[in-house]
């Protein structure tokens, strides 16, 4: 029995953490945030050099062949650094191809995605506004896709989209396919921009076992978002602890006031004790299929809520400064908002968890 990280998993997190600290420290993050150009090709190249775009790609297609747990562990670090870039969504797209693609489809697309030469994203939401609302998704007729997919991360950057279909399956669409129009959205999180995809008889290829792969990708996505929110929330706690130690009022650091100390203790407790929730859910995605969907839904709902609440308190504890554009807290606050709402709010996932849990 071991419910902890292996040496390799700990090293994976350490490596990514080190990369983010070196290549995207808060000063650089702030530049990217203010420019609003969240895809930094130098950062993407750096991630490719440590093999991360191929994390979930099978070794036979040039990847590391790892699973939902390793993806989530990476996402914790992405959230902690609020790293701009499509890695989370790219990882999910490769997972969809791995799980849903026929051999020829995997061989055709995965090697270039594993190396990071091409970027992929996911388009799981139609116009229905809910992850499970298939009726609002684009429809595939023969090899022509028609309809709209909203809230697609890095829509303007990705070379390839994995699109959820009205009939429950998945299809792959190339960026330059005829009849695909990409419309930028004004996203809340500047580290992860969104766009809308309009398909008009756009050439698309159905993934062989897409319906099964959809469930796998959705559950892994919920874990990845929970992990990102987890990392973001801990980063906010650390940031606020440091601020409270240095900010002086009434002649002493505000951290000496029990009202502040206790609030920070509650924030840290709320987030630290939910670490096992995302670990377990992601582990279940890889090893305990029967539990995966409910655990992933609970983790996404719980950590999404906790992270936004912690972010709210981080703003409050930073005082007037916390309410300014200039203060970095807002970057993580919006990161948490994205993680909470993207692919469904806590209420939606609690409804799903209740049904899946047999209430």
């Amino acid at each position: 029995m071991h419910f902890g990280l292996s040496e390799e998993q700990a090293l994976l997190q350490e490596t990514l953490r080190g990369f983010i600290e070196a290549e995207c420290p808060p000063t650089r993050l702030r530049e990217i945030f203010d420019e609003g150009a969240a895809h930094d090709s130098a950062l993407w190249k750096g991630l490719a050099e440590i093999g991360l775009p191929g994390l979930c790609v099978p070794e036979s297609e040039g990847g590391a062949g790892l699973g939902a747990l390793e993806l989530a562990l990476c996402c914790e670090e992405l959230g902690a650094g609020a790293l701009p870039g499509p890695l989370l969504f790219h990882g999910l797209a490769t997972l969809a191809l791995r799980e849903g693609g026929a051999a020829a489809q995997r061989e055709r697309w995965l090697p270039a995605l594993a190396s990071g030469e091409r970027v992929a994203s996911i388009a799981l939401e139609g116009v229905g506004g809910s992850i499970d609302d298939a009726a609002g998704r684009p429809a595939l007729d023969a090899a022509a896709l028609t309809g709209v997919a909203r809230h697609v991360p890095f829509a303007e950057v990705a070379d390839l989209f994995v699109v959820a279909l009205m009939d429950g399956g998945l299809a792959v669409v190339e960026r330059d396919a005829q009849g695909l129009v990409v419309e930028a959205e004004s996203g809340i999180d500047r580290t992860r921009p969104l766009g809308t995809l309009h398909f008009d008889a756009t050439p698309a290829e159905r993934l062989e076992t897409g319906a099964e792969a959809f469930d796998v990708v959705r559950d892994a996505a919920l874990c990845a978002l929970a992990a990102d929110a987890f990392g973001a929330a801990w980063a906010l706690v650390r940031m606020t602890v440091e601020y409270a130690k240095t900010r002086q009022q009434f002649g002493r650091p505000i951290a000496e006031f029990q009202s502040v100390k206790h609030q920070l203790a509650d924030m840290a407790t709320a987030i630290e004790l939910s670490r096992g929730l995302y670990w377990y859910a992601a582990y279940a995605c890889d090893h305990i299929k029967a539990e995966a969907s409910q655990q992933a839904a609970l983790a996404k709902a719980h950590i999404g809520d906790q992270a936004v609440e912690i972010a709210r308190q981080a703003v409050e504890l930073h005082g007037g400064l916390g309410f300014t554009w200039e203060c970095d807290v807002q970057i993580w606050f919006k990161r948490a908002l994205f993680d909470r709402a993207f692919l469904g709010t806590p209420d939606e996932h609690r409804d799903r968890a209740a049904a899946l849990g047999g209430y």
């Binding site: 990280l5 747990l69 840290a268 630290e272 096992g276 670990w279 983790a299």
Partner: protein, 400 residues
């Protein structure tokens, strides 16, 4: 990560389940008084190596090597069977580990075996009316007179004081020494003239606790654990065990299961509660907290198996605060599900620990307010987490 227990432990679990089919007792034994039946079955557990595992055989335990995973399996299976295993009473659960760690050989031989057999019962004398969170300010005194300690003062929140044979408690024996250095840890016979016990009625109406008054009570000089003035350090060892008891997360999962069972039967607005979207969401929200407790427990267990406790110091520090909050959430929803039946007061009865009638829910709801205070109140936990966990500055303290 690998959540399988492995073949060795699966065999252990299978054999244990087989053993536990022996509870409840059958035949002539089933007619014995309940306490006697529990004593018999606990004795069988000790012989089989399942109960008081790490206590040496010489003191009446099973003398098994430490194994957190076996402990976990035992906890799960004994819980499932509702069978008497390791007693949660304060003698076996708190005093015995303390004596094993810090007691003299003579004390171990004299006190541990009868305590484990259930023949010698204990109560804990720590809190005083003026010393709750600031326990080290305690004033009950012990003065050495010839071969005896002479005790005066008052203890409060003492469970089982009416029935206990002995008390383990903290007394100020060195009035000139500084606050923490003036305390001794003493073992005191309860059945004597100088001790008076009075029930303390709690807000639920039940009287599970007592006040204990010492008026020149006595205990022989050798009944001190550790040296004079070392009582504070000795008591830390006991409190550590108390925190483990209160923070037991299996307890929380069981309570959530009871909540779900309740919700299956309850009505909201004339319809089944489980068809109500609000109730379903509250349940799922609470399940998130319950799963957080469970998985955090699993992390701590896993780290302790591998001797990596240092990596989980933070969640260990946080468990008590968190789990007492979650328990309150569970019973608050259970109470809400009663609707207007929650307006009816009721008296405590022992079966309330298990059944799901409205009076049991009211009692459990009221009782759920207690653990956040016992064994280190929540705001004390927050101080510990803030200062030791997050490295925040200590509170400015007045000179003592």
């Amino acid at each position: 990560m690998d959540l399988r227990y492995g073949p060795e432990y699966e065999v252990f679990r299978r054999e244990l389940r087989e053993f536990l089919t022996g509870w409840p007792l059958s035949g002539d034994e089933a007619a014995l008084p309940q306490a006697e039946q529990e004593r018999i079955f606990r004795g069988r557990g000790i012989d089989a190596g399942y109960v008081y595992r790490e206590t040496p055989e010489a003191y009446g335990g099973s003398g098994q090597p430490s194994d957190p995973l076996r402990d976990r399996i035992l906890q799960e299976e004994y819980g499932r069977a509702g069978a008497p295993g390791n007693s949660l009473f304060q003698g076996p659960a708190m005093l015995v580990p303390t004596l094993l760690e810090l007691g003299s050989e003579q004390q171990k031989q004299r006190f541990i075996p009868p305590t484990l057999r259930g023949e010698m019962s204990w109560c804990q004398g720590y809190s005083e009316p003026g010393s709750g969170s600031d326990l080290a300010s305690l004033q009950a005194s012990a003065r050495l007179e010839g071969d005896d300690w002479v005790l005066n003062g008052q203890k409060v929140w003492t469970s089982n004081a009416d029935s206990a044979d002995w008390m383990f408690g903290l007394f100020r024996s060195e009035p000139e020494a500084s606050k923490h250095a003036g305390i001794s840890y003493l073992l005191i016979p309860m059945k004597q003239e100088g001790i008076r016990v009075r029930p303390l009625r709690q807000l639920s109406g039940a009287a599970e606790f007592f006040e204990v008054f010492f008026d020149d009570a006595r205990t022989p000089a050798e009944n001190i654990v550790g040296q004079r003035g070392e009582g504070w350090q000795v008591s830390r060892s006991t409190l550590k065990h108390e925190r483990n008891l209160i923070g037991n997360p299996r307890m929380i999962s069981d309570q959530f299961d009871r909540l779900l069972a309740l919700a299956r039967e309850a009505q909201v607005g004339g319809r089944p509660a489980l068809s109500d979207a609000g109730v379903r969401r509250r349940l799922a929200e609470i399940e998130g907290f319950v799963r957080a407790c469970e998985t955090s427990n699993l992390r701590i267990l896993s780290a302790s198996i591998r001797g990596e406790e240092m990596q989980v110091m933070l969640p260990m520090m946080m468990t008590k605060l968190y789990s007492t909050d979650v328990t309150q959430m569970i019973w608050k929803l259970a109470y809400d599900l009663l609707g207007t039946a929650g307006l009816t007061d009721c008296e405590w009865a022992p079966n309330y620990a298990r059944d799901s009638t409205p009076p049991a829910v009211v009692q459990n709801y009221l009782f759920s307010l207690g653990p956040a205070i016992a064994g280190g109140a929540s705001n004390i936990q927050r101080n510990i987490i803030g200062e030791r966990g997050l490295g925040l500055p200590r509170d400015p303290r007045p000179p003592s």
